[in-house]
C-alpha cells in the first residue's frame, strides 16, 4: 500500500549506483527525496531538512548507519521518524544491531520496489499514529491544566463564602481533603443572632464541577437564614425546596444539620443520608448515634419534606463528631470497606480529642485504604453558656429610617402555631431600630424563650420537669410533637410597643397564651442545681438581666428593653 501523502525521505547510501536507484524508486512513489553519502552527511541533512522517514545504509564510511541512527533518533525526540536500514547483511547479529541502534525495520538488498513501497506505507501509518497520540496527550494536558486552574479559582471563591461563617470558632475542629468540595463535600457553620451555632456537613451526589455547583446556593440559604434567626426546621425546608427546584432529578445532597444551643445545653439534629454522627461524652464515650432518618435534601417536593428534628441534651465539654462517607467507604486493594466498626474502634481507643483526626487517618492508612479526596471530619465541643463570642453582624444602612413610635399585636391560633414560627419575622422587623441592635442577641434569646414557653407550657401544657435526663428529654419532644399535631384550639398573642424616650427609646414585649398559667413564685424559686435540664427558659430570661414580669397567673410575660 503506498503512503497516503508524499513524504520527505532521506536516503543515506555510500554506493552512488544504489543511491540513484533508490532515489528513483522512492520518487516514483510520490515522495520527495534528499540524499547523503555517509552517516555524517545524513545527520547534518536530517537537522536541516527534517525528513519524515530515513533509509539508512548500515555500513558507510566516515560515520556508519548505526551511529547515524542513534543521533537521528536523539534529534527526533518524541516524534516518530521511522528508520529503515538498508543492508546486505543476512546474519542475525547484524540485523539485531540495526534494531538496537534505533532502526524500525530493515530491507535486504537487492531492493524490491513493491516491498519498499509497502514498508514506507506501514512506517507512515505508525508515524501518524504516534503523531496523533502526542497531539492528544498534549491536548489532554492542556485541558487538565485548564481544569485545575478553574478549580483553583472556584475553590478560592467558595472558600470565601464557606469561611464567612464560624468554622474557626474555638470549639470546632475539622479536617477536609483539599479538594473535597469537588467531590461534593461541604462544611458550614454560623452563629444565630441569639448565639446558638448551626453546623452543616453535606455531600452532593457525583464528582467534579457538578458536585460543587449546588454548594453555593446551599451555603447562601444556610448563612442567610441562620443570620436572620431562623431555626433549623425553616432553614431545612428552604434548602430542600431550593435544591429541589434547581438540581436535576438525579442530583441531591446528603446532609447532617446541627443546632447547638449553648444556653439551653441542647443539640438539635437532622440527618438525611449522611453516615452516623456521634454524640460523645467529655471522655470520648459514645452517648448516642445520630442516625440518618430522612431522605437527602433536594429529592422530595416541599409538601412531602420531613423536617422532624431530634433534640438531645449536650452539656459543656460533651462533643458531636461528624464524618463524610469518604471515611467509612475507603476501600483497600481487595475492595473491602473500612466500615463503621473499625471507626468505632478508633473512637473507643481515643484518649485525647486533639489526636482523634490523626488517629482516624492513621487507621485508614494501616487498613491499606486507597487515599480518597472526599474525606471530611468535624468535631464540635459544647461550650459553656456565653463561653463563645459570636461575631456581631455588620449593618450597612444609615439608621435614618429607624421607626420609633409604633405598636403591633399578633395572634397565632392553633393552625398557625402548628406550622409557623413568627419570632424570626418580628426580630427582622425590630432590627430596623438602631438603638436595639447592640442588644440584638439578648432580644433573640428572650423572644425565642418566651415564645416557646407560651407555646409549650402554656398552650400545649407540657411540664418542663420531664426534661430531667436524656430519656425524659426525648419523651418531652415526642410529646410536644404529638400535642402540637392534635392541637385544635388555643393561641399565643405577641404585642410589641415602641416609644421614643428623652434620650433613646423603649420596647415593651408582651407574650400571652391561652394556657392555665403557672405558679410564678414557685418556679422561679427552684434553685438552679435542682432544675437539671428543665425550666431553663425563665432563669435564662432572668439571667440575661432583662426586666421581666409575669402577669395573669403566669399567662402573660412582659419584658422591657430600653436604650
Amino acid at each position: 500500500m503506498p503512503a497516503e501523502q508524499g513524504l520527505r525521505v532521506l536516503i543515506a547510501e555510500d554506493g552512488a549506483a544504489d543511491r540513484l536507484l533508490l532515489a528513483q524508486i522512492v520518487r516514483r512513489q510520490g515522495h520527495e527525496v534528499v540524499t547523503a553519502e555517509n552517516g555524517e552527511q545524513a545527520v547534518a541533512l536530517f537537522a536541516e531538512e527534517r525528513p519524515d522517514l530515513v533509509l539508512l545504509d548500515a555500513l558507510m564510511p566516515v560515520m556508519d548507519g548505526f551511529e547515524a541512527a542513534r543521533r537521528i533518533k536523539a534529534m527526533a525526540g518524541e516524534a516518530l521518524v521511522p528508520i529503515i536500514f538498508l543492508t546486505s547483511m543476512n546474519e542475525e547479529q547484524g540485523l539485531v544491531r540495526c534494531l538496537e541502534a534505533g532502526g524500525d525495520d530493515f530491507m535486504a538488498k537487492p531492493y524490491s520496489a513493491v516491498i519498499l513501497a509497502a514498508k514506507i506505507g506501514a512506517m507512515d501509518r505508525l508515524r501518524r499514529l504516534q503523531a496523533t497520540v502526542l497531539e492528544q496527550r498534549d491536548e489532554l494536558a492542556r485541558h487538565h491544566h485548564h481544569l485545575l486552574n478553574e478549580q483553583r479559582v472556584a475553590k478560592a471563591v467558595f472558600d470565601k463564602v464557606a469561611h464567612s461563617g464560624c468554622l474557626r470558632s474555638s470549639n470546632i475542629r475539622y479536617l477536609q481533603s483539599p479538594y473535597a468540595l469537588f467531590n461534593g463535600d461541604l462544611l458550614l457553620a454560623a452563629f444565630t443572632p441569639s448565639g446558638d451555632m448551626h453546623v452543616l456537613l453535606g455531600d452532593f451526589t457525583g464528582h467534579g464541577l457538578p458536585a460543587a455547583v449546588g454548594a453555593m446556593p446551599l451555603a447562601e440559604v444556610f448563612y442567610g437564614m441562620t443570620a436572620k434567626g431562623y431555626g433549623l426546621v425553616e432553614t431545612l425546608r428552604e434548602m430542600n425546596a431550593k435544591l429541589k427546584r434547581i438540581l436535576p432529578v438525579d442530583m441531591f445532597c446528603c446532609a447532617l444539620l446541627l443546632n447547638l444551643s449553648f444556653e439551653r445545653g441542647t443539640v438539635e439534629v437532622w440527618n438525611g443520608g449522611m453516615p452516623d454522627g456521634y454524640r460523645l461524652s467529655a471522655a470520648g464515650e459514645v452517648l448516642s448515634v445520630l442516625q440518618s432518618r430522612h431522605l437527602p435534601l433536594g429529592i422530595l417536593a416541599p409538601e412531602q419534606f420531613d423536617d422532624r428534628t431530634d433534640i438531645l441534651p449536650l452539656t459543656a465539654g460533651e462533643r458531636v463528631f461528624l464524618l463524610s462517607d469518604g471515611v467509612v467507604d475507603t476501600g483497600d486493594a481487595k475492595d473491602r470497606l473500612f466500615g463503621v466498626e473499625r471507626l468505632r474502634e478508633v473512637l473507643a481507643a481515643n484518649r485525647d480529642p486533639g489526636q482523634l483526626f490523626d488517629e482516624v487517618m492513621q487507621a485508614l492508612e494501616r487498613f491499606g485504604g486507597v487515599p480518597r479526596d472526599d474525606i471530611s471530619l468535624c468535631d464540635i465541643r459544647m461550650a459553656e453558656p456565653g463561653g463563645l463570642a459570636p461575631v456581631a453582624p455588620v449593618y450597612s444602612d444609615s439608621g435614618r429610617s429607624s421607626p420609633l413610635d409604633w405598636s403591633l399585636s399578633l395572634v397565632l391560633h392553633a393552625d398557625s402555631l402548628k406550622r409557623f414560627n413568627p419570632v424570626p419575622y418580628l426580630l427582622q422587623f425590630l432590627q430596623e431600630i438602631h438603638g436595639l441592635r447592640p442588644s440584638s442577641a439578648v432580644l433573640h434569646s428572650v423572644l425565642g424563650e418566651l415564645y416557646s414557653n407560651a407555646l409549650e407550657h402554656g398552650v400545649l401544657g407540657l411540664d418542663s420537669r420531664l426534661k430531667q435526663d436524656a430519656a425524659g428529654f426525648a419523651e418531652y419532644y415526642r410529646e410536644r410533637g404529638r400535642r402540637l399535631t392534635a392541637l385544635s384550639e388555643g393561641f399565643v398573642r405577641i404585642a410589641l410597643r415602641v416609644e421614643p424616650m428623652a434620650a433613646g427609646g423603649r420596647l415593651t414585649v408582651e407574650i400571652s397564651d391561652s394556657g392555665t398559667g403557672f405558679d410564678i413564685e414557685k418556679v422561679l424559686a427552684r434553685p438552679a442545681s435542682e432544675k437539671g435540664l428543665s425550666g431553663r427558659g425563665l432563669h435564662l430570661v432572668q439571667r440575661l438581666g432583662v426586666r421581666a414580669q409575669w402577669l395573669d397567673q403566669g399567662r402573660r410575660a412582659r419584658v422591657e428593653f430600653g436604650w
Partner: protein, 101 residues
C-alpha cells in the same frame, strides 16, 4: 450486557437487571433500558441480584427512573438486594421512595 431488560408476559411490568458495579459507568445503559419504551410502564422491577456495589450516582439513576415512570404514581421495586446494598439504600432512606427487598 451489564444491564438487561425484560417484559412480563402481559407487557405491563418491566424488569431491569444490573450486573457488576452499579455506578456512573452504567448511566447510559441503564437509561436506555427504559427511556425508549413507549408508553413507559408504571411498574418497574430493578433486580440487583448480580450487582456487587452501588454508589450515589446509582441512587441518582434510580431517581431518574422513578421520575420517568411517573414520580409519585410510579411503582418501583428494587429486589434481591445484598446486605451491603441494603445498607446504602437504608442510610439514604430510599425505602421511603422504593419498595426494597
Amino acid at each position: 450486557m451489564a444491564v438487561e431488560s425484560d417484559f412480563s408476559p402481559d407487557e405491563k411490568q418491566l424488569t431491569i437487571k444490573v450486573k457488576g458495579r452499579f455506578d456512573f459507568g452504567k448511566h447510559q445503559e441503564f437509561r436506555d433500558a427504559y427511556e425508549r419504551l413507549d408508553p413507559t410502564p408504571n411498574s418497574v422491577v430493578v433486580d440487583l441480584k448480580d450487582a456487587t456495589y452501588l454508589d450515589s450516582s446509582a441512587l441518582g439513576m434510580l431517581l431518574l427512573l422513578r421520575d420517568h415512570a411517573g414520580g409519585e404514581r410510579s411503582d418501583i421495586k428494587v429486589i434481591n438486594t445484598s446486605s451491603d446494598v441494603r445498607k446504602i439504600l437504608a442510610i439514604s432512606n430510599f425505602e421511603k421512595l422504593f419498595d426494597v427487598s
